[in-house]
Amino acid sequence: MGDTQRPAKKTAKSRPKPASANEPEFVQLLTPEGQRVQHPDYDITLTDDEYRGLYRDLVITRELDAQGTALQRQGQLGLWPSLLGQEAAQVGSGRALKPQDTVFPAYRELGVQWCRGIDLISSFALFRGTDLGGRDVAADRFNMYAIVIASQTLHAAGYAMGVAMDGAVGNDDGEAVVVYHGDGATSEGDFNEALIWAGVFNSPLVLFCQNNQYAISETNARQFRLPPYRRAEGFGVPGILVDGNDVLATYAVTQAALDRARRGEGPSLVEAYTYRMQPHTTSDDATRYRDEAELDFWRAKDPIVRYRKWLSAEGLADESYFAAVDTEAGEQVRALRARVMALTDPEVTEMFDNVYAEMPPGIAAQRAEAVEFQASLEEGSDVR
């Protein structure tokens, strides 16, 4: 038991070649070497532009995420939870969504947010500390980041209940709800309650588990004896394991799960098997719990490298396309960086104004007191 259950670690020690050796039994359409393979149940057919678009999403997501880390290192953000290595899981699932679908993210879903076409500044404002990550979630159909692990799974389960109660499911134009969470979340009570709820109410919910192998320092072996996709079956919810570093497989599997949900056939769980290449956040030191050999093992499974190989081999994109994407990514990064740096500290009144729909007199009084106190300090500095 214990670490012997870790396929990554076990394989890392034996240094296999190719990287596709010793992988779990998951849905894969593109090997780490960039070979397109067939699966009996899942396939994908996109237009050439859509295939190229996935590459653009992957690269821009990686670059914007890297900028998050850079901004934190430069003191511009308080914290950054990098998604490096998980781009395919997020882009594949994010692009499988239809406009009417609703997303409940955890706090590392910058790539999904990008795919949904939602302004990314809210995530950076949250980690800069200029606000708490608020957005117009109804218009965006993308909820706020959830910091308390698995708390969002219940919100998604309730929302999905409401979708069904509204009669918004039952055909290919129905609404589906997807909730993102990690492997650590599967240990929380809320996650298990969400599965119960989604199951007994037959809700149009897809639980999308990014199994990035770590809950900060703890491996899968400390979170479960049976992987999440198999546990789902125990709740009467179909579970499917997919190569989370394969953007095509992730797309295909998520699309099938979403379609099932929107047709009114009920919930499912997608476990995207992937790897968090960076520490948990910029505050974490991953060298205390994992080694370079393990990182090398996963570097060989990089989601972008394999996809680029395949695009080239298929003649779908050439070096000039890849260069153009790099250029655009650079522009996106520069534009975002400028906006992040321009985010100013909020007014002191901000902390009071939105707590209640109807502000109680006590908070109104404290608000006035805080404003007055601040003004008195400013007057004092004038005198000096």
Binding site: V148, S151, A157, I196, D353, N354, V355, Y356, P360, I363
Partner: protein, 324 residues
């Protein structure tokens, strides 16, 4: 004017909410077919259907968490937590999610969720069925906390709580559930977040809420027979507290005794005493006293009469206040 029990008043109040507000729904353990273990939701599923009166799985965090999701979808859930001592599995969803999501959103999201909790002791129950956890929630910004003490308030306050756009924790004193009184079904009379002066007096002010209001009223009646003229105020709302009637009363009487079932340590009574000393310092003739549950876990039911504030303990505190 109709006479009804608090249970019936709550039932009728919920019925009006469900009739008037098509997006409202009732959810909780056993609230549907059974009508709730106290029958507060009796007959509602039959009349409003199982999509609006929802029997949920037995998981309190799930009840509150999914109610939040339903509210995000535009519904207005009224949740039932079956007993006070069963609310704690939902604590994160209540204090970190329900209370904070609207603020987190910058005011763009409102969560009109009411959480009904039968609370308090005095019914000879087993452990976890007699607790008074109101201070946890009153301490949490983003929640509003109210408690009814009589059928008329029960009837109106549940409707007022469901009509607002803020999350409300609605405490129902279960030992008063079967008390009957007149309910004015025509006019609400008082806003949800207002305290009510039940009895005017000049000697001292008794401040109570929920199950101890009746205790305070009885104590005042007994004191009157001995010539002591007590004012009695029912707080009704614990967050926010309607301070002005308290300040006005204590400036008049100069003495105050706060009565609640919850342990006194860091409780609602402590906040009341602190604010009264801040605002009415020069009017006070004696320290604000508290008559509360002891700072111990709720005892085995054969001891609850010794634990709960009763008429004698309240009158004793009044005597101490007067003798100070």
């Amino acid at each position: 004017m109709t006479t009804m029990s608090m249970i019936k008043a709550l039932n009728e109040g919920l019925r009006r909410v469900l009739e008037d507000q098509p997006k409202s729904l009732v959810m909780g353990e056993d609230v549907g077919r059974l009508g709730g273990v106290f029958r507060v939701t009796d007959g509602l599923q039959k009349d409003f259907g199982s999509d609006r009166i929802i029997d949920t799985p037995l998981a309190e965090s799930g009840i509150i968490g999914t109610a939040i999701g339903l509210a995000l979808r535009g519904y207005r859930p009224i949740c039932e937590i079956q007993f006070d001592g069963f609310v704690y599995p939902a604590f994160d969803q209540l204090v970190s999610q329900l209370a904070k999501i609207p603020n987190r959103s910058g005011g763009r999201v409102r969560l009109p969720v009411v959480v009904r909790i039968p609370y308090g002791g005095g019914i000879g129950a087993i452990e976890h069925h007699s607790e008074s956890p109101e201070a946890y929630f009153a301490h949490t910004a983003g929640l509003k906390v109210v408690t009814c003490s009589n059928p008329n308030d029960a009837y109106w306050m549940i409707q007022q709580a469901a009509a607002g756009d803020d999350p409300v924790i609605f405490f129902e004193p279960k030992r008063r559930y079967h008390s009957k009184d007149d309910v004015d079904t025509e006019s609400a009379g008082l806003d949800l977040y207002r305290a009510r002066t039940l009895r005017e007096g000049r000697t001292a002010t008794l401040i109570a809420y929920g199950p101890t209001v009746d205790v305070a009223v009885n104590a005042a009646a007994a004191a009157a027979e001995e010539g002591t003229d007590l004012e009695v105020i029912d707080l009704r709302s614990l967050s926010p507290i309607d301070w002005e009637p308290l300040f006005a009363s204590v400036r008049k009487t100069g003495r105050a005794v706060v009565v609640h079932e919850a342990p006194g340590n860091i409780g609602v009574g402590a906040e009341v005493a602190a604010r009264l000393s801040e605002e009415c310092f020069y009017s006070l003739e004696s320290p604000v006293l508290r008559v509360t549950g002891y700072d111990v876990p709720y005892p085995a039911s054969r001891l609850e009469d010794d634990y709960l504030p009763n008429l004698d303990r309240v009158l004793d505190a009044v005597d101490r206040s007067l003798e100070y």
